[in-house]
């Protein structure tokens, strides 16, 4: 009998970084199910292109740095899938691949790989391709079977709620279609019901934090309620703004990335508020019809500051009407 020398604790929770990434990757894969039903197998190619682009960028970086190639990193998969899901279903395959590769090669790896990056790689990658090819990124196909190669038939203006909202027109979508994602939009970020289900799963697993999403949706809804882009009732404006485009997707999957968001509960909520406000601001005044990726990047930059402010309040307390409030 040979006994080994171990170190306490001898019990650890089963959740590791790998299982957390698996949770997110599983949720993103679940978002591909409805698009496959609507568009045929073409969305799978797009997702595969994103994953492969990220994977090759990772391998290339490891080779350049002469590190051991860690193929088992699920976060590459998460970045690739997120990039693909934010783009149209019939987009040229090099675009999701390039977005994921940019995210991994430029935004994540140079800062010291997973856990040390300041910006969300997928958001940066999609922002990069948005700047390069805005006409391809915002050209959404109609809900129809897509050809396996080449572009599908573009949706008419009436079918594309994002461009209608940007022009101050009222899109006419059935509520069921909005919840199940049967309208022209980014590949995986239209099915609101599935996104909400995935969000609940991630919140209960504590892989994502609910404070961020709550703040994000709250401020986005507030902006939509008070400043509607088209002449309709405020509550309809809230429904259209939250359920169309990739706002909900970004609130559940991109803002909640633990690496790039603040780590204290209070700052996380403020971070969510900031992200939601910025996303709506970019929709109102931005050059593109959807600016969520830029909003995510901007709020990523504010995350360390918010944490610092939270720490300051926690240690020094805040003075309000002559009383000092300090956390216990």
């Amino acid at each position: 009998m040979k006994l080994i020398q171990g170190k306490a604790p001898f019990y650890r929770r089963e959740q590791t970084v790998i299982t957390m990434m698996d949770d997110v990757a599983a949720c993103l894969a679940a978002l591909l199910v409805l698009p496959v039903l609507y568009y045929g197998p073409r969305p799978l190619f797009s997702a595969a292109a994103g994953c492969l682009g990220g994977f090759f960028a990772q391998v290339l970086f490891c080779l350049l740095q002469r590190q051991r190639i860690s193929v088992s990193q699920r976060s590459v998969l998460v970045t690739g899938l997120t990039a693909a899901l934010l783009l149209p279903g019939d987009v040229d395959l090099y675009i999701p691949a390039l977005a994921a590769a940019f995210g991994i090669f430029v935004v994540r790896e140079p800062f010291g790989s997973l856990g040390r990056n300041t910006f969300n790689p997928a958001a940066a990658g999609v922002a990069f391709v948005t700047v390069l090819w805005p006409e391809k990124v915002f050209r959404f196909p109609g809900v129809d079977f897509l050809p396996l190669w080449g572009e599908g038939v573009a949706a008419s203006r009436v079918e594309d709620p994002m461009s209608m909202l940007q022009q101050g027109l009222i899109p006419l979508l059935r509520p069921v279609d909005m919840l199940l994602g049967r309208y022209a939009g980014p590949l995986g970020s239209t099915a609101a019901l599935v996104i909400c289900g995935c969000g609940l799963f991630l919140f209960f697993r504590r892989t994502a934090r609910w404070e961020i999403t709550a703040g994000f949706l709250l401020s986005a809804a507030a902006v939509a309620f008070f400043f509607p882009r088209a002449p309709y009732a405020p509550e309809i404006s809230v429904a259209y703004e939250l359920l169309t485009g990739s706002l909900l997707f970004a609130g559940v999957f991109m803002m909640t990335d633990p690496v790039t968001s603040p780590r204290m509960a209070g700052p996380r909520f403020v971070y969510g508020l900031l992200g939601g406000g910025l996303a709506m601001l970019l929709r109102h005044v931005g050059a593109y019809e959807e600016g969520v990726c830029f909003a995510v990047l901007l709020s990523n930059a504010a995350a360390p500051l918010l944490d610092r402010a939270g720490l300051w309040i926690r240690t020094k307390g805040v003075v309000f009407r002559g009383k000092t409030f300090r956390a216990r």
């Binding site: 009998m1 080994i4 590791t16 633990p258 780590r263 216990r328």
Partner: protein, 431 residues
Amino acid sequence: MVWSLRRGIRQEKHRPRSLKQGIIPLKAEKTLLVPLYGGEESRVRRVQPGEHVRRGEALTQPSPEVPVSFAPVSGRIVEFRAVELPLDGTAMCAVLEPDPEEQGDSKKKKDKRKELFSGEKRRKPQSPPEESRKETVEKAAEQMGIVDEFDGMPLQTLLENFRRGGGKVLVCCGLDDDPYGDSSGAVLREMPREAARGLQLAALACGAEKTLLAATSFYGWRKVRMAQTGVPVTSAGGRTPAKGLMARRLRQKKKKAGFIGAQACVALCRAVEEGVPALDTVITVSGDGVWRAGNFRVPLGMSLEEVLSRCALYPDVSLVYVGDALSGKAVTDLSLPVTARTRCVTVLRNPPVHREFSCIGCGRCTSVCVRGIYPWLVHDALNRDTVDPMVLWNVNRCTGCKACTAACPAGIDLAEEVARAAAIRKSGDFD
């Protein structure tokens, strides 16, 4: 799968049914290593090598700082030896060769016991005036070698600290943060009345306003409650660190709590009512490497090897640890003795393998910490060139429960970093 939004960790318990079948007494047949606390100095020791000692005879002089050691069995002292104990640090141990006739029939043993306590009359459970009762309890706490099984502190010191700290609630702690063992829980379940009486005596000695019996599981809670001890019973809810979470709950109700282990309560009850010093301890031997898991009452100083030989080990055992899963120590030398702090001996065939990643900032460590520390912040601060004093403002609160390390999905030893940060804060050297 861990589904939780609450503080603390939900441990998945792997407790075999045999742990519910009472406490099995084990007799020592081989040489014992009885730890003599403070026995490095020869004037503290009351016996010499070669001398014969009777069961229950004091081996060291009474002292306010360290507990008195007693001979757990009759036998001959062979020598004194300094031994590195896994949980208690280095201590002088008496090598005790038990008498072969000790393992006689029960009648003979009963006679011996009668003979042993013939000097002083056995006190019957009755209620003498409160003042003298308080003195009796204090004397028993000081001179009967009772040690709290959770932190290894002599009972006298523990009660003194509670009194000085202005504690309100005294809790008899039957909480084990271990997926395999529940020795204190078993003591509370099997001897609830003795534990309750011991707790009330301790409360009398330290002036606690309220007393509380704390069981981990619903099963234990129900069993203690059915005993109708007259002391309120609570269930800690099974989350880890149970003791810390309970202290936190009581603190939020503005009730400062002190904890005494269930075994110490029972020992105090016996010491006061029967005049029997602490001679044995209850340990759980469990884990996937033992065939016959169970709770055993073993004499203090019995070697782990002898204990494990009664439990049928698998041949491919690779890890043995004593203490609970969060703060225990691995043992490679099985000749080490069982001490009052041992509580659990866990034998594993397939110890868990961990990989370390860099911190991803999920904040789980903060959400499990019962003292409101931010371990990720400490980790971040210690990995910089100079440490920002502001981020170390509350690291000295750490109770060392190691829940943060257990919860960290990146496998970082955060408890160690917090301890390091506390040392830096104390030294004032932040560069």
